[in-house]
Symmetry: C2
Subunit: 421 residues, 2 copies
C-alpha cells in the first residue's frame, strides 16, 4: 500500500514554520505497519491541484495537510471538490458546531467561517474538536477512467491535525491495511553514542547486509548514531542480536527502544526511587525542560534552578563569591560547586550542572564560545566533571549539544551506581 | 528562477527525525530574494534518482540534502555521477582533510570514509568544516539534449548543512539571482495574538486583496495569527500601513518584524535596562530556555528556578508551606507567591511565574489537566495573575501554550510600565 503526504502552506517553504506533520504522520503510520513512500510540499494556492493529481497515479492513500481554514488562501477543499465534480453542500451539523465554537470565544460567525461547513458531496466529514475546520475523507474511486487514491484532507495547525489523525485517520488506515494483507514489518532502532557512523558500520554492517530481507539504515545525529533495522519480526530479531552482542558496541549502546536520553534518565531514576536536581547556567533551562517533557518526571525531578547571573549562583546555590572570582563562572571548580550546591539545597540523590559560553559574545582565550563544563553528583557526593568544546554557530545548537553531553554523563553515573548497589 | 528542494532520508519519512532543513533553506533563500517553489522527500536508496530527474524539467536550481555520508545507504553522490556519466575521482586534498579529521577523534580512515573524497569530474567540491562529507555543486548544463538545473548536494546533519549553505551555497545563488534580474520581493510578517484568523481577515482582507501585486497569506499558529505580505517594496509598504493603522488590530499586534515573543521581551527589557527572573512549575524550564535562546539574554535574565516539587517552592522561593496546604500548588495564590518570591530572592525588576497541570496525571476537579496560573510582577510589586485552561493531548503542547500565554502577559506588563514611566 503506497502512501504519500502533501503538505500545503507557503509558510513551510518560506521557513516561517517547521513542518512537523511529516514526522508525526511517519511515526503514527509506522505504528500500524505502514510507511510513507514520498512527501511533497507546495505553497498555498492553485498549484496544489496539479501536484495532488500527479500523486494520484503513484499512491493508494494521499494525506493532504493545510488549506482548510477560513481565509482566502485556503482552497484545498474547493480544489478537490472541483476536480471530482462534487457539489459543496453546507453541513448544518458542522455549521452549528462552528457557530457554537466561535460563540465560546465571544465572536459571531461570518461567511468565511461558515465556508468551513461546506462538505463536498460524497466526502466524509472528520470532526475537529480543536478548531473550526473539519477534515474530509474521500474513499478511493475511479474518476474519468482514472483510479484515484483514498484522500484525507487534514487541517494545518498541529494541535488540530494530531488528534484528528489519531481518532479519525488511523482507524480507517488500519482497516485498509488489514484488507491489503501482507506480512507486517517491525522496526528496531539502536541509539549509539561516542562512535562515528562509519565505525558502527565497520562493526556490524557486513553481518547485517548479508541478511536479504533486512532493511538497514543509519542516521547520524548530533553526537549520536541510530542504526535502524526494518523487516519481518524474525529477521529484525536476528539482526538485533548481532548489534546487541557486538562487544565493541556494548558501552556505546544507550537504547534499543528509540527512547530519548531524557526518558532513559527518568526511567533509571524511577527504577531506583531516586531524585534529581539540576543547576544550569549556559543550557539556560533546557535540561529541566527536556526532563519535564517526560510524563512522570514529577516523581523524580525536584528542582532545577537556572542560575544565569553570577549573583544567582551565589544566591540560589550558595556558591562562594571568592570561587567565582578566582576561577570565573566557566570553570571546573564552579561546575563542581553548582552540582554540590543544588544537590544539598534540594536534598536530592543525584544532580547535574552546566556552565559554559553559549555565545555569540562572552568567549575568552581560556574558555572560547562553545566551552562547557558539566558536573554530575551522586550518592556520597561523588562528583564527575567533564569539559567539552563544541564548534557551533548558534546558541540553540550549542545548548542542545551541551544538554546531550550532560545527559550522557548523568546516565553513565546512574548505571555505575546501579552496578555498585 | 524556480527552486526545488529534495530531502533524502528514510528517517524523515519514518518520523525519527523532524525535517528542519526546509525551514532553514526557506529563510536563508528569502533573505537573498529567492523562494522555494516545491519540496520533496524520499527514502534513502535508488528512488532518489527518478525523483531528482523529474524535477530537472521544472526548476533552475535543485538543492538535495542527505545521502553523502560514509554508510552503505548513502548513494546520492554516486547517483548523480552515474546519471551525468561523470567518473568519480578521489580528491587527494579532501582525502587528507577527512584523514586529519578522523585522526583528531583518534580513529583511522577506512574505505567507506575515503569514499566521501570521491568527487564526480566536473563537480565543485564544497568544503565541510563540521564533518567528513563535503558538499558538491554541478552548474546547469545540457545533458543528452535536456537542460538540467544547478544542482547542490548537501550533507544531511543540520550542523554540517547550515554553515555550508551560508558559506558556499548562498554566495553562488546570489550570483545566479543577480544574473536572472527581475525586481526583488520584500516580505513583512505581522504577528497578531488574541484574534482568530477570520476576524483578522474581516478587518484587513478586503483592502489587501484589492492590491493586485500583493501576495497575501495567513498562518494560524498556537494562539497567534501571522499575516504575511509579499511583493514589491512599495506595495508591501502600502499594505503594511493598512494593517498597522487598523484600529481594531492595534492592541493585538505584537510584532511586525517576525520576531519571536521572547526576542520582543528581551529587547523591551534591554531597552529599559531592566532585569527579569522566572519561577516555573508546570512549564518546567521552557520559559528560561526560550529566554536564554535569545542572544544577549544574559544582560537581562538573572535566574529562573524550576521549582517542580512543593518542597522546592518552599526552599527556593520562600513559599509558606501553609499556603501550599491551603490552596494547593496549582492556585492563584501560589502563582502570586512564586512571582513575588523569585523577584525578591533575585532582586529583579520583573518576574514571571507558572504553576499548572501538564498531565497526563495530576488533574483534579478544580484544576483539570491543562490548567495553568500565570503571574507577572513588576516594579512596586504590582502583580497580575491569569488563569488559563488549555485542551491539549500532550505535555509539550501544553508547555508551549502556557509559555506563550506567560510571555504575552509579561509583554503587556512591560509595555504598560513603559507608558507609565
Amino acid at each position: 500500500m503506497r502512501i504519500e503526504v502533501l503538505n500545503t502552506g507557503s509558510e513551510l517553504l518560506l521557513g516561517a514554520v517547521v513542518n512537523t506533520h511529516l514526522a508525526f504522520l511517519g511515526q503514527q503510520l509506522f505504528g500500524i505497519g505502514l510507511r510513507i513512500d514520498r512527501q511533497s510540499c507546495v505553497p498555498d494556492g492553485p498549484v496544489i491541484g496539479p501536484v495532488m493529481r500527479e500523486s494520484f497515479s503513484r499512491c493508494d492513500v494521499l494525506l493532504v495537510t493545510g488549506g482548510l481554514g477560513p481565509t482566502s488562501d485556503d482552497i484545498t477543499r474547493e480544489l478537490v471538490a472541483g476536480f471530482f465534480d462534487l457539489p459543496l453542500e453546507r453541513d448544518e451539523a458542522v455549521f452549528a458546531l462552528i457557530k457554537d465554537r466561535v460563540a465560546k470565544f465571544g465572536r459571531e460567525i461570518n461567511e468565511s467561517l461558515a465556508r468551513q461547513a461546506d462538505v463536498p458531496r460524497g466526502m466524509t466529514m472528520l470532526p475537529n474538536p480543536h478548531g473550526t475546520a473539519p477534515g474530509l475523507y474521500l474513499p478511493a474511486r475511479t474518476h474519468q477512467g482514472q483510479a484515484t487514491p483514498h484522500i484525507f484532507l487534514l487541517p494545518g495547525p498541529p494541535r488540530e491535525l494530531r488528534p484528528m489523525v489519531l481518532q479519525e485517520v488511523l482507524p480507517r488506515l488500519r482497516e485498509l491495511r488489514a484488507k491489503a494483507g501482507g506480512a507486517p514489518e517491525t522496526m528496531k532502532v539502536f541509539r549509539i553514542v561516542g562512535l562515528g557512523e562509519s565505525q558502527v558500520e565497520e562493526m556490524v554492517g557486513p553481518a547485517l547486509q548479508a541478511m536479504p530481507d533486512l532493511e538497514l539504515g543509519y542516521c547520524a545525529r548530533s553526537g549520536e548514531v541510530d542504526v535502524r533495522l526494518i523487516g519481518p519480526a524474525e529477521t529484525v530479531a536476528r539482526a538485533a542480536a548481532i548489534v546487541r552482542t557486538e562487544p565493541a558496541l556494548r558501552e556505546h549502546l544507550i537504547s534499543e527502544t528509540n527512547e530519548t536520553i531524557e526518558e532513559i534518565i527518568v526511567n533509571l531514576l524511577r527504577g531506583r526511587g531516586a531524585t534529581l536536581s539540576s543547576a544550569e547556567s549556559c543550557t539556560g533551562g533546557l535540561l529541566a525542560h527536556r526532563i519535564t517533557n517526560v510524563p512522570g518526571a514529577s516523581k523524580v525531578f525536584i528542582a532545577g534552578p537556572v542560575t544565569y547571573a553570577n549573583s544567582a549562583k551565589v544566591q540560589a546555590l550558595g556558591i562562594d563569591p571568592a570561587l567565582l572570582e578566582a576561577h570565573t563562572a566557566v570553570s571546573e571548580e564552579v561546575a563542581r560547586a553548582m552540582a554540590l550546591g543544588v544537590k544539598h539545597t534540594f536534598q536530592t540523590d543525584f544532580s547535574v550542572a552546566t556552565t559554559g559560553v553559549a555565545g555569540p559574545e562572552g568567549g575568552t582565550p581560556e574558555s572560547p564560545v562553545g566551552t562547557v563544563f558539566i558536573a554530575v553528583a551522586g550518592p556520597g557526593d561523588e562528583i564527575e566533571v567533564k569539559r567539552r568544546q563544541f564548534f557551533v554557530s548558534d546558541r540553540e545548537t550549542f545548548k542542545h549539544l551541551a544538554s546531550q553531553a550532560a545527559f550522557y554523563l548523568l546516565r553513565r553515573k546512574l548505571l555505575l551506581c546501579a552496578k555498585s548497589d
